[in-house]
């Protein structure tokens, strides 16, 4: 590993000059070797300068909480590389993205699909003449849904190949929410992009803005005060709690378990109103900025408001959880539905709670701890997982994680007694030139990864964003195979993936 990679850590900036620059083929074999040794690729992206394209890859090594980076350069006439996707399906979408964003062709890629129909894309296929994967045979029929769906939700297209009620294959085509986020990050001074980071996906405002702020702190060498670190943990766990509870409500609605719909709905309101009491926004916006947080909390919030909410929500959540699990109409509807086996899950590289529900213990709070989690890691215990990977497992895991979030908030509260400051100044002249930083935060869906590259004048050369949905949409497509098409809404809710976070 040592010779072809440079070791770094979560939120730590490294000089671009120190990153190995390997010949393309050697870069490929370095990646293949890492993948063979059970490392995971957490980011793999290109950066254009003139006619050259520099490509970086980042691997996660959980045994040392380390991240490893390496790079290669594609000069003007060189626009292809041998694809690794057939051997390692987990990287298939990175390769598709390299092709779509930069025209780097992964030779012999098994399915070079458009990712999000990027603005100014290199693809020849248009969004409206995209040929979906077809199936032939007597009685095979095709169902197309979207981009506008029945509910108030984001747009995407789903194409089902069915035999009777059974889905043989589901193809998901996204890109409707594509609004050029990565290029917007280059348009303004880097330190003024917190609001944009909060709008990558609204349901993970805290997860993304923390990843952004941590990247900025890595680049400027600023350490946020401890008090800010704990307030961030509280904000992130409130976000996780609210989303898990909200989704349990939505799942209940889908299976006509109406007490769940209304009780979880009400509990979610209590949690997001707590985020509002903390930050002035029900989604925690405006709270986290590079260098710390903007709002402090008073003793009334710490001693009364928050503890009352936690106690109350936990008690009522336990009641409705018990009712959900014990209702004869619920569990039989969830078990064996939308199965994603451990083998398939690890092969295609899903992340976050989806991976944990399929028996893969991974969590960046644990594997690459940051901020308050450096301390909390040892108190979190083992990462909760389930083996079966069906809707039941994902439901029960969310229940377990919601409870864990409440525990983590309690633990954070203990540390908020000191009256230290909540923010340190971060200024542009502190930004390290010619550097790369990789920043990972465990959002409620899974790992949020931001990679930032600066140039010689401290300008932003590349801002790469990865929402966990980038990996997990393919997991949803796999989970639907051999299920009834009417189970789609239920499976979909159990994943609840982000369109805006994927489409960027």
């Amino acid at each position: 590993m040592k010779q072809h990679w440079l070791q770094t850590g979560n939120g730590k900036a490294v000089s671009c000059k120190q990153i190995p620059s390997l010949p393309s083929l050697e870069f490929n074999s370095a990646l293949a070797e890492a993948l063979e040794n059970k490392k995971r690729v957490v980011s793999w992206f290109g950066m254009e300068s003139g006619s050259d394209i520099r490509v970086f890859a980042v691997c996660s090594d959980t045994s040392h909480s380390a991240l490893w980076v390496t790079a290669t350069m594609f000069e003007a006439e060189q626009r292809s590389f041998p694809s690794l996707a057939s051997r390692f399906p987990a990287v298939h979408l990175f390769e598709c993205e390299l092709y779509e964003q930069h025209g780097l062709l992964p030779e012999n890629h098994p399915w070079l699909k458009p990712v999000r129909f990027e603005h100014g894309r290199k693809h020849s296929l248009g969004m409206h003449d995209y040929p979906f994967f077809p199936m032939d045979g007597a009685e095979v029929h095709e169902v197309g849904v979207g981009p506008v769906h029945a509910g108030v939700i984001e747009p995407g297209h789903f194409r089902f190949q069915c035999h009777g009620e059974t889905v043989f294959h589901l193809e998901i085509q996204l890109g409707y929410q594509h609004r050029g986020l990565e290029s917007l990050f280059l348009q303004k001074p880097l330190l003024r992009q917190a609001a944009l980071a909060e709008s990558i996906t609204g349901d993970t405002s805290i997860g993304h803005v923390w990843a952004y702020a941590q990247a900025m702190e890595g680049l400027t060498g600023v350490t946020p005060p401890e008090r800010a670190q704990w307030l961030r943990v509280i904000a992130l766990e409130l976000e996780r709690l609210a989303m898990h509870i909200g989704d349990l409500g939505a799942l209940s609605g889908d299976i006509a378990f109406l007490p769940g719909l209304s009780v979880y709905g009400r509990l979610r309101t209590e949690v997001i109103n707590t985020s509002m009491a903390l930050s002035g926004s029900r989604f925690g916006r405006g709270l986290i900025r590079p260098g710390g947080v903007v709002y402090d909390v008073d003793s009334q919030f710490l001693a009364e408001y928050l503890p009352r909410m936690l106690t109350h929500v936990e008690k009522d959540m336990d009641g409705i959880n018990e009712m959900l699990i014990e209702s004869p109409s619920v569990i039989p509807r969830l078990e064996h539905t939308g199965l994603l086996s451990t083998a398939v899950a690890s092969e295609i590289g899903v992340v976050g709670f989806v991976a944990r529900s399929s028996g893969i213990a991974m969590d960046s709070r644990h594997d690459h701890p940051y901020g308050g989690y450096v301390f909390l890691k040892s108190r979190m215990g083992a990462i909760p997982t389930f083996r079966w990977g069906d809707v039941e497992a994902r439901t029960k895991l969310r229940i377990a994680e919601a409870k864990q979030s409440i525990q983590l908030i309690w633990l954070s509260l203990i540390h908020l007694n000191d009256q230290s400051s909540i923010s340190m100044p971060c200024t542009t002249d502190q930004i390290q030139p010619d550097s790369l930083v990789v920043s990972m935060v465990e959002g409620w869906r899974g790992e949020v990864v931001h990679c930032v590259v600066t140039g010689p004048n401290r300008e932003t050369l590349r801002y790469k964003i990865k929402d966990p949905s980038f990996h997990n949409w393919f997991g949803l497509a796999q989970a639907l195979r051999n299920n009834g098409i009417s189970d789609f809404p239920l499976c979909n809710k159990s994943f609840n993936l982000s369109y805006s976070g994927f489409d960027l």
Binding site: M127, R179, S199, T201, V263, G319
Partner: protein
């Protein structure tokens, strides 16, 4: 069984009754108040820091159609001219009415007789999400929960545009979504209304400068109601709509 009763008992009555007067937490950032005192000479701090080009100077005015209530301007102003209040009555049927300064009127929604007559008792809406972050959609969904219960006012979201009386637009309108937005609008039978929700829907919000947008839809189609926020609080939406429909609910 006992547990079920306990859960039901704990749920109690959750509906927000007085949706016009509810007081939100003091930290909630609604209507900005701009003081009339003079700015320090050559100061542009608020303009420079604003993520969505919402501020004009001399005199200072904030365009609520662009503002994301972040509230960075209020933090950097050396004269402390800008404060945010928890007032969530922000909607307006005129685009210009969203620009607030120290001397301007409170944004307000005028009841439109024609709209009141046709849709006053029942209004069905089709939502189209076009390139936003999903924050607005989550708040629109919250309107149907037990707290806000929008259905009690005869206002609901429908699955099919054919059953709708109006379009609720969220998001800055990405190029990739523009054709589907137009097709959905065309599928709604006339007479119909258009409601632009959130900084994105109204102006493009934090994404306004992106070349990946195509906002030509709004050049052709007039908007009946603007609902500011990023995302708007459900109460901003609900009150704006009740005003538009002339519902005298208090």
């Amino acid at each position: 069984m006992l547990n079920a009763l306990k859960v039901r008992w704990a749920q109690g009555y959750q509906t927000v009754d007085h949706i016009r007067q509810v007081e939100l937490n003091q930290r909630f950032r609604g209507l900005p108040v701009i003081e009339s005192r003079a700015c320090p000479e050559d100061c542009q701090a608020c303009v420079e820091v604003c993520p969505s080009q919402a501020i004009q100077l001399s005199p200072v005015r904030i365009d609520l159609g662009k503002c994301i209530f972040c509230p960075d301007c209020s933090k950097v102003c050396p004269a402390e001219k800008i404060h945010f209040t928890p007032d969530y009555h922000l909607s307006c049927n005129e685009r210009e009415g969203l620009v607030v300064g120290s001397q301007t009127q409170h944004p307000a929604v005028k009841t439109e007789e024609r709209i009141k007559q046709i849709f006053g008792r029942s209004l069905k809406l089709r939502s189209v999400s076009a390139g936003g972050c999903n924050g607005c959609e989550m708040e629109l969904n919250a309107l149907a929960n037990v707290n806000f219960d929008m259905g009690r006012f005869g206002i609901e979201f429908t699955a099919s545009p054919r059953h709708a009386d109006g379009l609720v637009l969220t998001g800055p309108i990405s190029e990739n979504m523009a054709p589907a937005l137009q097709a959905t609008f065309d599928a709604i039978p006339s007479p119909k209304i258009v409601i632009a929700v959130g900084a994105c829907g109204i102006s493009g919000g934090v994404f306004a400068a992106s070349p990946a947008l195509d906002r030509r839809f709004l050049e052709k189609i007039p908007v009946d109601l603007y609902i500011p926020g990023c995302p708007p609080h459900p109460l901003t939406f609900l009150n704006g709509l009740l005003d538009l429909l002339g519902k005298k609910y208090s």
